[in-house]
């Protein structure tokens, strides 16, 4: 029997020509302190870390920034356009992000509504077309809608990132069946972005066959962020391994796992 490598290191995935072994992407918002953020991100094992782009504080206050909590050797920065409500704002933000970070990856978000933070899929598609043409590697946050995912992949996005549930809601994977369809049709990596609340939610995303999962609030706002970061790392690894292992079919009735012959009379 040939031994197979079941470790995450033996099961890498590729995004925009780069190879990663961690399937957990994390954000950098909402942490109680930069120290806790640094430790949580380290323990999460994440190799891709998302950051936001905002105006510099001109009031003269200086202090450590988000970059000080990251190890640029270990972490690939994924700037995001969080908070943008139009394609134009998102494109400008992405261009500025590229100038800050000197990388071409961008997590494209064009939000359609402040209550749900649901994406404006049409504006996202429009912005993605512009950014792809400008050489960006675009990872769009979008609805868990197979059609928009197809369109985003067709125009050259390097991945699609359907939501599991509203950003920061912790409601988990609300429509696993849509995700299954998205995954069946996918020609690019599918990452669940947003909605994860706890470890089992992350595991489900990977069990379904997603390439990776991105989360922020679930770790940063947990009562013990470092512990949750470890839990998420383990859940992502477990979910991925379960996917690779191939789960049993669900069935309505029992199927005994002990022999049905040789029972005592």
């Amino acid at each position: 029997m040939t031994t197979q490598d079941w470790t995450p290191q033996g099961d890498t995935w590729t995004l925009a020509g780069r190879t990663f072994s961690s399937r957990l992407l994390v954000g950098t918002g909402k942490y109680p302190s930069l120290e806790m953020q640094r430790e949580a991100i380290l323990q999460s094992g994440a190799e891709i870390v998302t950051v936001a782009v905002r105006r510099v504080d001109l009031s003269g206050k200086t202090g450590p920034t988000v970059l000080d909590a990251l190890d640029r050797q270990r972490h690939t920065l994924l700037p995001n356009t969080a908070g943008c409500y139009s394609a134009d704002e998102a494109v400008r933000t992405a261009r500025l992000a590229r100038e800050v970070g000197m990388g071409d990856l961008v997590k494209l978000e064009v939000i359609g509504d402040p209550m749900t933070l649901f994406p404006d899929n049409q504006a996202t598609l429009a912005a993605a077309k512009i950014l792809v043409a400008e050489g960006f590697s675009v990872l769009p946050y979008c609805s868990d809608d197979p059609i928009i995912c197809l369109k985003l992949a067709e125009i050259g996005c390097v991945a699609v990132m359907p939501l599991g549930a509203p950003i920061g809601s912790g409601l988990g994977i609300r429509n696993p069946y849509n995700l299954k369809i998205i995954l069946e049709q996918a020609t690019v990596p599918v990452l669940v972005d947003a909605g994860v609340g706890t470890a089992s939610d992350a595991a489900i995303a990977l069990e379904l066959g997603c390439s990776a999962v991105l989360m922020n609030t679930a770790i940063a706002s947990a009562q013990q962020p470092v512990a949750m970061a470890i839990a998420m790392r383990q859940a992502v690894e477990a979910g991925r391994l379960a996917f690779r292992a191939g789960r049993i079919e669900k069935r309505l009735y029992a199927n005994a796992s002990s022999p049905i012959t040789g029972l005592i009379g």
Partner: protein, 76 residues
């Protein structure tokens, strides 16, 4: 040569707030005056990115709308 009327004081909008600069000042001068690190701040002038290599040669003009941004913590 026609006379160009460059005012001695330039009125800018910097991150949404009014600010003045002297005629002849460049983007690099502005960042220096604000004591901002060039390597982690990106500059947009009138909706176009000013590449880092062009900071020292990009003169500010009256009415310029400047955005200075950096990376901050955030997820989505």
């Amino acid at each position: 040569m026609p006379q160009t009327t460059t005012p001695a004081i330039l009125h800018l909008t910097l991150n949404g707030e009014p600010r003045t600069a002297s005629a002849g000042e460049t983007v690099a001068d502005l960042l220096r005056a604000l004591n901002l690190p060039r390597e982690t701040v990106a500059v947009e002038r009138n909706r176009d990115v000013v590449r880092r290599a062009d900071h020292a040669t990009t003169a500010l003009a009256d009415g310029d709308v400047i955005e200075l941004v950096q990376f901050v913590g955030g997820g989505a």
